[in-house]
């Protein structure tokens, strides 16, 4: 269309002037023309001719354009998308992200959960084991998180426990702006040792922790302290971490001295194999001191006594995770294999009946445990899992027994045992925010070795901010 105009006159400015000049000429033509020269009239005629051609071309172009638009509406552009305006500012706009986890379960066990304990391991006072029978609200969890400023972010995770108490699971800050791959975390946090230690209850693949975590860390080890992590600048994932804290949680105890109560170190490596497999391997070391770490037991005549361990506790953990997420075929499938091995040596003294006899002598133990589990998401909303747990309590060296002061029967909790458990699980996830889980375990943790059949139906719901989970 543009070409049609241009062919008439190169100079586009002239388009505006020409019609005006022509109109003036027409007006003049109405006046007596006697004074006009013949060549002037001819020029005017030519001008008029050109004008007519110009308008004809314009009208034709407009008509053809109209016809085109009517026949093909596809070329009508929709309003061009424009950038969004900045979001509104309000006092509440800076509120932290809040998410709430609601959990509850129904439990049915063939043996009394009250007499459940792990053979050969010192009771650690944690909320471990199959829990109570029948209906129960599990741990509901409230999480608040936000950036503090450009340099720090903060997180608080509080749990409402089965005893209707509010417990601060984690309350920490972490740095956002340290250079060279460093991150510093401080406050109370789940230690980076092992693989499952950092994972919150609602994200576990089974309703409970592996026996090894229950025995060695009363489910999970929380530090009140600081953690420094460094991520290597390589395409292979390599992460190193060090922690120091008051080590007030089992297997450590709160002490009165200055300085850190213990230290933990961990290293993780990981990567991909092809486009469907990913993996992570880890090794951790944790050393702490226990001071009068008390536990309840029954002596040889069946009376309740309180015994206490004082000494060094060293634990190391090896962990491995492999995930297969096929890229082709039915989407949403994933197989996750994971296993961990925990080993602990304790060396120090054991006090028998601290409130009574108060006998003290050397104590040494070497214990280990492992689990292996596989969880398969066979449809986007369904997962099935299998887990096997095994613990080896070893035979502790108890000075009071080897010295002939007390019989071994005076320490029933320390009688050697090899607890095992097999668990199957099926869960259904109607959405990302809800999960129903059915789990059955054949539990042989008690020292008599008899099986406890444990059935558990569990729900887990997430409300509020969309959580992001770690690998």
């Amino acid at each position: 269309m543009r070409a049609a105009f241009d062919s008439l006159d190169e100079d586009t400015i002239m388009h505006g002037i020409k019609p005006f000049a022509a109109l003036m000429a027409l007006a003049c033509a109405a006046l007596p023309v006697t004074a006009m020269a013949a060549d002037e009239v001819a020029a005017l005629r030519a001008e008029l001719q050109a004008l007519r051609a110009d308008y004809d071309a314009r009208v034709a172009a407009l008509e053809s354009r109209l016809a085109q638009l009517e026949s093909a509406p596809a070329t009508v552009p929709e309003p061009a998308p424009a950038p969004v305006a900045a979001t509104r500012a309000a006092a509440s706009a800076f509120n932290p992200a809040i998410s709430l986890i609601l959990a509850g379960s129904y439990a049915d066990t063939s043996r009394d959960p009250g007499d459940w304990r792990i053979a050969g391991f010192m009771p650690n006072g944690g909320e471990i084991g199959p829990g109570e029978r029948s209906f129960g609200v599990g741990e509901s969890e409230l999480q608040l998180a936000a950036s503090i400023d450009p340099y720090f972010s903060g997180t608080l995770i509080a749990a409402i426990t089965g005893e209707d108490e509010i417990e601060v699971e984690e309350a920490y800050f972490r740095t956002l702006a340290l250079p060279a791959g460093f991150t510093l975390k401080g406050g109370r946090f789940f230690s980076g040792i092992g693989y499952l230690n950092e994972v919150h209850g609602h994200a576990w693949d089974f309703a409970d922790q592996p026996l090894a975590y229950q025995a060695f860390y009363a489910n999970q080890y929380a530090q009140d302290g600081a953690q420094l992590k460094w991520l290597a600048p390589t395409d292979l994932f390599l992460e190193l971490g060090a922690e120091a804290g008051n080590d007030g949680a089992f297997p450590g105890t709160r002490r009165e001295g200055n300085g850190a109560g213990g230290a933990a170190f961990f290293a993780h490596v990981g990567g991909d194999i092809g486009d469907s497999l990913s993996w992570r391997l880890g090794a951790s070391w944790h050393e702490t001191d226990a001071e009068d770490r008390a536990y309840e037991d029954l002596d040889q005549s069946g009376d309740a006594v309180v015994n206490a361990f004082t000494g060094k506790s060293r634990t190391w953990i090896a962990d491995a995770v492999l995930k297969w997420t096929p890229q082709r075929g039915a989407p949403g499938r994933q197989l996750k294999l994971q296993g961990e091995y925990l080993s602990r040596r304790e060396r120090g003294t054991l006090a028998f009946d601290v409130d009574g006899a108060g006998l003290v002598d050397a104590y040494r133990s070497s214990q280990s445990g492992w689990y292996l589990q596989g969880v398969y998401r066979f449809r986007p909303r369904w997962r099935a899992g299998l887990r096997y747990d095994s613990l080896d309590s070893g035979t502790p060296s108890i000075g009071l027994v080897s010295g002939g002061v007390l019989p071994l029967e005076a320490f029933p909790a320390l009688l050697p045992g090899d607890a095992t458990r097999s668990t199957v699980m099926l869960d259904w996830n109607p959405s990302e925010f809800s999960r129903w889980r059915l789990q059955y375990a054949w539990d042989e943790a008690r020292d008599d070795g008899d099986t406890d059949g444990q059935l558990r139906l569990q729900y887990l719901f997430g409300i509020g901010a969309h959580g992001a989970h770690k690998y």
Binding site: T75, A180, G181, P233, D235, G270, D272, P331
Partner: protein, 302 residues
């Protein structure tokens, strides 16, 4: 001992600071489309690593170790935004220990904040399904959005690598011209598709429908992110009797079962669209993505 530690720390600091000045800008893109765009605009002044393939649902990716390692070394994260990656990108950025790509820093770029999002929910409640508070995040299937994001991304590249500003500007101009011409070509080609009644799988085809003027008569998902039940599909067949669709749209990463079932009942072909760069053999780059999408649609209605 102290001297050894001091020297060690110094060596370490030097090592950390000795990133070559003329190194290419390292970009971590969350999806194949934004990865492809970053490569188009950045040329050989950038290296691009893409976190998700077209056969993955970008919503379901995990913050796996290899991605954390890439995030650690990235100078720029090119994300889709509008909560598409909410389940993993925050963890990735947090675990990376990389101060340059934290949210709110110049190294964090979100495509969705440069276009106008549609389907911004007026009511926010999870009973409505997997809705996104800022609007529908699947913006890349409207090429006009890609053009807007390209302009913003090019400016971002120039800001992060000022020496390459002229280079990026030239590439952006070239891309813009080719993209503009391509949009006109696609719109012309797709003109016969205007008004075609279609059934979509998920809201991620909404921008394509709007751009090409396809008429959505139904969605296989009853609500965003909620898979259809057998009962719902039965109802769908009945309700579609009045407004029969010509085509059922499906993405390369979708499970085709429900769409195929419906296709046989309502006598409309189920067309697998690439959805993302790499989704089909022909969708090798952004141009191929739309070439293939439109050809497949035209083929289906022929």
């Amino acid at each position: 001992m102290k001297r050894i530690i001091g020297n060690g720390l110094l060596a370490f600091a030097l090592l950390a600071a000795s990133v070559p000045a003329n190194a290419a800008l390292r970009i971590l893109a969350t999806t194949a489309d934004w990865g492809a765009l970053a490569a188009e605009l950045g040329g050989d002044r950038v290296t691009v690593y893409t976190a998700t393939s077209a056969l993955q649902d970008a919503h379901r990716v995990e913050a796996r170790p290899s991605l954390i390692a890439r995030a650690r070394n990235a100078d720029l994260v090119v994300a889709n935004g509008a909560e598409l990656e909410v389940g993993w990108l925050p963890v990735l950025v947090q675990e990376s220990g990389n101060p340059h790509i934290q949210r709110g820093t110049p190294g964090y770029f979100e495509a969705a904040s440069h276009v106008r999002l549609v389907e911004v929910p007026s009511q926010l409640d999870r009973s409505l399904g997997d809705i996104h508070p800022q609007g529908n995040p699947h913006i890349q299937l409207d090429p006009r959005n890609v053009a807007l994001v390209a302009r913003a991304l090019s400016a971002k590249l120039a800001a992060l690598d000022p020496e390459g500003a002229a280079y990026f500007a030239a590439r952006a101009k070239d891309f813009d011209a080719r993209w503009d011409a391509a949009i006109r070509r696609w719109e012309e080609l797709a003109a016969p598709l205007r008004g075609t009644p279609v059934v979509i799988m998920h809201r991620d085809q909404a921008y394509l429908c709007r751009w090409l003027g396809l008429t959505e008569v139904a969605s296989i998902e009853p609500k965003p992110g909620v898979p259809p039940s057998a009962g719902y599909l039965g109802q769908l067949v009945k309700s579609l009797a009045g407004t029969p669709p010509r085509v059922i749209l499906l993405n390369a990463y979708n499970d085709p079962k429900a769409a195929n079932w419906l296709s046989a009942r309502v006598k409309a072909p189920a067309v697998v669209l690439p959805y993302s760069v790499g989704g089909t053999e022909r969708a090798k780059d952004l141009f191929g993505l739309f070439d293939d999408t439109i050809d497949r649609l035209l083929e289906a209605v022929r």
